[in-house]
């Protein structure tokens, strides 16, 4: 049970990191557009 909780918690934490820093990040402009 502990093993499951630790692993599930870890995976959830990783998912949260991805969501917070990438998926939910406000849109940004490119600082050096070069067509």
């Amino acid at each position: 049970m502990t093993t499951f909780l630790v692993n599930a918690g870890g995976l959830a934490l990783m998912a949260a990191i991805v969501w917070w820093f990438w998926l939910s990040r406000p849109g940004t402009k490119n600082s050096n557009p070069h067509p």
């Binding site: 093993t3 630790v6 692993n7 870890g10 995976l11 934490l13 990783m14 990191i17 991805v18 917070w20 820093f21 990438w22 939910s24 990040r25 406000p26 940004t28 402009k29 490119n30 600082s31 050096n32 557009p33 070069h34 067509p35």
Partner: protein, 849 residues
């Protein structure tokens, strides 16, 4: 200049970042304006200037179709007469003069930024402000430069909302002083914090290992809980800034170096506190506390930042040295009275007296007295220059010889020195293409490290040896601590600052970080002849007297030519003056266009002119023919001199090759660079000059407007081209080249079109700048390589990759040491550039003089 059509800023564009983009826009607009040269693209301000009357809406559409979003400038207030912009000093408005960059850029002083991720967050926040076209943060001096029309307060709010501090820099000098004071204060604070946290960490370690135990038992549980609380207090007091910064960044979906420090030390403390408070939830082997690690990591990072701060101060030494050149007071003569005034109170038109040994406070023109002025601090030229009434003098130079009175023409931020300081600062704050690599990586780096830390913790938990909980905590903490990308953020700006400063020491003003990078790749240097390879003013090179009396020949020639203003005449008069020859008094002077000049001495005509004219007057020039041929072969113009019916001799006048041009060209060859010359001269003269200067290739009879075509042609053939020139007619070629070098003694237009300005007339500035550029880019590569390698090797080791082979798991404390060392190493390596010397050494004789 008078023929130049007035161009008006018509479009504001975005996305044009290099000369290639500018050329594309110019070419696209050529059908509309009738000539691509009538289109001016300002990459700095992201504007396009067009001749009056051109349909701006149509122009905007064409530019947008080319791939660069463009719109017509909104109203008359945005219109700038670009012709007036050709004089950098004259163009400075008081408001612009206050900013460090001298254009529409706004400069913010940033606080709280510590790594490449912070830089990225701040730039992103600034770019999101409506109207901002360009934002660049320089971590080396903690400033952000923003271009585009927007309110300063909006920029400050944007930075603050990203979790950092910002204020607008209005007075650059004051800002520099403030920053120096702040750096000193910050250094002291960091050292105290370091002593406290490191002291606690070491004490805990000694106590735990020597007298007690780091493993929790019933006997020491209360003590460790108390020590844990004490540690928390010290962590907040000495490392509070990391937690605050990390939290602010987190709220804005950002992560930075402080995030890693906060998570790393926080994890170690939290784990230890759980162990201390409820040890029974963990296996006996895992009941070990790591309070000392949290305290020591914060101490070490504080130490690293203090050392970094001290080293950063040294990189801006070049600018400080320039600032130190300024005189504090001026002896101003007003209403016949002399008074010592602070230099800020000197007005244009004031008469200023300068005695020997004093610095000149402002720019001006000498009205009385002659002297020698040491301009080496501005131009790198070791010989003091002779100056007399009518000659221009610059602020910051040293009067070495006589007392002079001069009239102030440019004061305060308009002086050449102030302009140089602005240029150097601007270039130091700009980022070469290579620096953007670090930004792109750091934006995803910190969150990626957090993922790696969690993943490695899970791996240790699932397949690691006992005590698995301890190992997973150590691995996660160590990964977080070792991965701090502070070295990455410093790698480029530190080297650019030192490199640009070093170039300035050698009299080469680099206007853009990109030029610094491109200069290192140059494989073809195209030189304009007149004023670049040659002196740009004719001098007497040969005197052949058929009578054998050179003295008499020059006295006669000077007597006649002193009435003329032709450059050839000036050369002859100058030579006579130089030789101490008193010119004859000649009357009845008359200039005959295209033929020569004549006058009268002792009732007989004296004539100087070309062969055809003298022959047409019935004079026998044949005896001087051999001498004339020698002059022509030497790329000179022969002038025949006759008194009465006797041809007395021939004087050769030529635009002499600068004494050091040949050596400078040889240095370019040694660096593996081909050298080409462009000249409007005829083939024979071009060949003679190219041969003497050691030039590989030349184009003769090139019209001024064709120079840019030659540059473009060479670029199309795959060369990375540098163009070196000094005249207005060189400006298009300078702008078309990958790197334009303007000879600083040349025109303002040339200087504005070039990306590098050479403050002295010598060509040695070109190989100097190229060598410094190569050294700087090499230094940046070393720094980036070091920083990347450190992170790429450090993270797997911290995650425990070596454990299966050697049973080694890195301690979080060692990770803290390594992280601090990486930043200090990068900064130290950048400072190493300060010792760089180019391959050129001024002749010993010049130095002695």
């Amino acid at each position: 200049m008078n023929d130049t059509p007035v161009l008006k800023t018509a479009l504001s564009i975005s996305g044009a970042s290099c000369q290639g983009c500018a050329n594309k826009i110019r070419k696209a607009l050529a059908p509309l304006t009738g000539n691509a040269d009538l289109v001016e693209v300002d990459l700095e301000q992201q504007t396009v200037a067009l001749p009056e009357g051109v349909d701006t809406a149509e122009a905007a559409r064409i530019v947008a179709d080319t791939g660069y979003p463009a719109e017509p400038c909104p109203g008359p207030e945005a219109v700038i007469d670009t012709v007036n912009h050709t004089s950098p000093a004259a163009a400075q408005t008081p408001a612009a003069a206050g900013s460090s960059s001298g254009d529409d850029a706004q400069v913010l002083a940033i606080s709280g930024a510590s790594c490449a991720s912070c830089v990225n967050s701040i730039e992103t926040a600034l770019m999101a402000v409506p109207g901002v076209t360009h934002a660049y943060m320089n971590l080396a001096d903690n400033t952000a430069t923003v271009r585009g029309g927007t309110q300063p307060q909006a920029l400050v709010r944007a930075v603050e909302s990203a979790g950092y501090g910002a204020r607008v820099i209005e007075d650059q000098d004051q800002a520099d002083d403030d920053r120096q004071q702040e750096d000193k204060r910050q250094y002291r604070v960091l050292m105290v914090k370091m002593a406290v946290s490191l002291g606690l960490g070491v004490a805990l370690m000694i106590w735990g290992m020597g007298f007690g135990s780091m493993t929790i038992t019933d006997a020491n549980q209360i003590t460790w809980i108390s020590l844990g609380i004490l540690t928390l207090g010290v962590m907040i007091a000495t490392g509070g800034q990391f937690y605050v910064s990390a939290w602010k960044a987190f709220r804005h979906h950002n992560a930075n170096m402080d995030t890693l420090i906060a998570l790393g030390t926080g994890t170690a403390w939290l784990y230890s506190m759980v162990v201390a408070c409820v040890p029974e939830v963990l296996p006996e082997m895992a009941r070990h506390v790591y309070f000392e690690a949290s305290a020591m990591i914060i101490g070490l990072i504080n130490l690293g930042q203090a050392l970094e701060l001290r080293a950063k101060g040294k990189t801006s030494e070049a600018v400080r040295r320039l600032l130190d050149l300024r005189a504090r007071t001026a002896r101003v003569i007003r209403d016949g009275e002399e008074q010592d005034l602070p230099v800020e109170q000197v007005l244009k038109g004031d008469h200023i007296r300068v005695r020997p040994g004093e610095k000149l406070p402002v720019d001006g023109v000498i009205i009385d007295g002659t002297t020698r002025i040491d301009e080496s601090m501005l131009t790198g030229e070791p010989m003091p220059a002779g100056k007399g009434p009518g000659d221009e003098v610059s602020a910051g130079t040293l009067n070495t010889h006589g007392a002079i009175i001069y009239q102030a023409t440019r004061v305060g931020s308009e002086t050449a020195l102030a302009h140089i300081i602005r240029l150097v600062k601007k270039a130091q704050g700009s980022k070469p293409e290579i620096g953007r690599l670090a930004d792109r990586i750091s934006a995803v780096f910190v969150p990626a490290v957090m993922l790696i830390a969690v993943a490695s913790a899970l791996i240790w938990y699932n397949i690691g040896p006992d005590p698995a909980v301890v190992h997973m905590m150590i691995a996660a903490t160590t990964v977080l601590i070792i991965a701090c990308p502070c070295a990455l953020g410093l790698a480029t700006p530190m080297s650019v600052m030192v490199g640009v400063g070093k170039a300035a020491e050698y009299g080469a003003l680099i206007r853009q970080g990109d030029a610094l990078q491109t200069a290192g790749k140059i494989d073809l240097v195209i030189l304009d002849k007149t004023g670049t390879i040659t002196e740009g003013r004719p001098v007497v090179t040969q005197v052949h007297a058929l009578t054998g009396d050179q003295h008499q020949l020059l006295a006669l020639a000077a007597g006649l030519e002193q009435h003329s203003e032709h450059p050839l005449a000036e050369a002859i008069v100058a030579r006579a003056r130089q030789d101490g020859i008193e010119p004859y008094r000649i009357t009845g002077f008359e200039a005959l266009n295209g033929k020569g000049v004549q006058g009268e001495l002792d009732g007989q005509p004296v004539r100087i002119g070309n062969r055809r004219w003298l022959e047409s007057q019935g004079l026998a020039v044949a005896p001087a023919e051999a001498a004339a041929s020698a002059i022509t072969a030497d790329a000179g113009t022969p002038l025949f001199l006759a008194h009465g019916q006797d041809v007395l001799g021939v004087i050769g006048v030529a635009d002499a090759i600068k004494t050091d041009s040949e050596a400078a060209i040889a240095r370019l060859h040694a660096a593996g660079i081909r050298v080409m010359m462009l000249t409007g001269d005829i083939e024979a003269t071009a060949r003679a000059i190219a041969g003497r200067a050691g030039i590989d290739d030349y184009r003769a009879e090139v019209l001024p407007e064709d120079k840019a075509d030659v540059v473009n042609d060479m670029r199309r053939k795959g060369h990375t081209v540098a163009m070196v020139g000094d005249g207005i007619n060189d400006a298009p070629a300078l702008a078309a080249a990958d790197v334009g070098f303007a000879i600083g003694t040349g025109t303002d237009v040339a200087i504005e079109s070039a990306s590098i300005t050479l403050m002295r007339g010598s060509l040695h500035g070109v190989p100097d700048a190229i060598e410094i550029s190569r050294a700087t880019i090499r230094n940046i590569h070393q720094n980036l390589f070091g920083a990347f390698i450190y992170n790429s090797l450090g993270i797997p080791v911290a995650a425990g990759l070596l454990y299966p082979v050697w049973g080694v798991l890195m301690s979080p404390i060692l990770a803290g040491v390594a992280m601090s060392l990486s930043s200090v190493t990068v900064v130290t390596n950048a400072n190493r550039l300060r010792l760089f010397k180019t391959s050129h050494k001024a002749p010993a004789m010049e130095r002695c003089q």
